[in-house]
């Protein structure tokens, strides 16, 4: 089996210092790290690796990003690959995911792609989903635990408010793991020395069969939506059909009823319809759209 891990090198938000007067970021005080969720992804990939399997670490970035690939080599990744278009300063998720997905295709598709669920400090978490979209593979986000059963991955996802969900996905697939899903091992001395000396292979756009035009996604446009307005809220009125003591009980509980969610089951199409209907009902979607 071949496992690909996507890594990113990021400024540690604690070291991003903005000059209060000029408003500029003081680059000389910024320190970079391997994105913690990516480190967890790397550890999971290494743990999944059986004899004969290969773990390949990829990143999109300039030469400075080699550091995260050396981190990966130091802990035992078999191959690494950096993808970059020179003269580029940064990439948006659409570009990053296109570069990664194309690199995976040209290098030979793996069986499993493991990514960090999101980048430090407010990352959108789009990249893994976009890679999956690009490859036409399923994506599982916010994964906390996973185990491999032949060609299927059993996973546990983290939901809001401490909730968990479990499921299975058939490979090939993209899994996005959370930062606390695993703790990256500490490199051995031979590992770190080997990594330090390794030559890092790089692929540029022509190597991937891409032209700079392919990366020209329209910039996101922002329009000012309606200012948020307070949604009408129902005032509690006790049910007049009930006997007095029950009405009294309702009043003393101030009408607090347990909030409830709604679980819809069925085929994916029906589920999607149900979600759209729900969003429209709640006023999040324009029905005519």
């Amino acid at each position: 089996m071949r496992i690909a891990v996507c890594l990113s090198r990021l400024p540690d938000p604690k070291t991003v210092e903005v000059d209060p007067i000029t408003g500029e970021i003081d680059a000389s005080r910024t320190l970079y790290v391997l994105n913690p969720a990516d480190a967890a992804a790397l550890e999971i990939a290494l743990e999944l690796r059986a004899p004969g399997d290969r773990v390949t670490a990829l990143t999109v970035g300039s030469e400075a990003a080699d550091s995260v690939l050396r981190d990966a080599l130091a802990v035992g990744a078999d191959d690494v690959l950096r993808v970059w278009e020179e003269d580029r300063a940064t990439t948006r998720p659409l570009v990053t995911s296109l570069l990664l997905a194309t690199a995976l295709r040209t290098e030979g598709l793996p069986d499993l792609v493991v990514c960090g669920a999101r980048t430090l400090a407010g990352g959108s978490g789009k990249v893994p989903a976009l890679i999956a979209e690009n490859l036409g593979w399923p994506a599982v986000t916010d994964v906390l635990e996973l185990s491999l059963h032949a060609a299927r991955v059993h996973f546990q996802r983290r939901l809001g408010r401490g909730g968990r969900s479990e499921g299975e996905v058939t490979l090939p697939a993209v899994l996005a793991v959370q930062a606390d899903a695993a703790r990256l091992r500490y490199a051995t001395l031979p590992g770190i020395m080997r990594a330090e000396r390794a030559a890092i292979p790089v692929r540029h756009l022509p190597d991937l069969g891409l032209s700079p035009l392919d990366l020209n996604f329209p910039s996101p446009t922002f329009r000012t939506p309606m200012p948020p307005y307070a949604r009408p809220r129902e005032v509690f009125i006790p049910d007049s059909h009930l006997p007095p003591h029950e009405r009294a009980a309702q009043i003393t509980s101030a009408g607090i009823a347990k909030r409830s969610g709604k679980v819809v089951e069925g085929a994916p199409e029906e589920l999607a319809d149900a979600i759209v209907a729900f969003l429209a009902e709640q006023g999040f979607l324009d029905r005519s759209a």
């Binding site: 070291t15 003081d26 000389s28 320190l31 500490y186």
Partner: protein
């Protein structure tokens, strides 16, 4: 701002925190200690006297200077080590 509180000073230093402490204090030994030089000497103020007479050490913001090690008078009260490579304080000074 030139005059700063200790807390403001500490906010300017950067630490990569490891899972396990590199300096371990033996609270029993510290209970017997009357000098407690570590508490005043630590430039990061990481030694906290507790009500029960022992001393708590917060390793996360340690400068790894060694002051506590050299002033400690209780044999074996302090197990002093550098953090693992790559962890601990990282000075930038720019």
């Amino acid at each position: 701002m030139v005059m700063t509180t200790h807390e403001e000073k500490m906010r300017t230093a950067y630490f990569r925190v490891d899972d396990t402490p590199h300096i371990v204090v033996d609270p029993e030994k510290c209970r017997e200690c009357s000098v407690r030089a570590c508490i005043t000497v630590c430039p990061a103020d990481l030694f906290v006297p507790l009500d029960d007479g022992s001393v708590l050490f917060n390793y996360e913001q340690c400068f790894e200077c060694g002051s506590c090690y050299f002033v400690c008078t209780e044999e074996g009260a302090l197990q002093w080590n550098y953090p693992r490579g790559g962890y601990g304080v990282t000075f930038r000074e720019s």
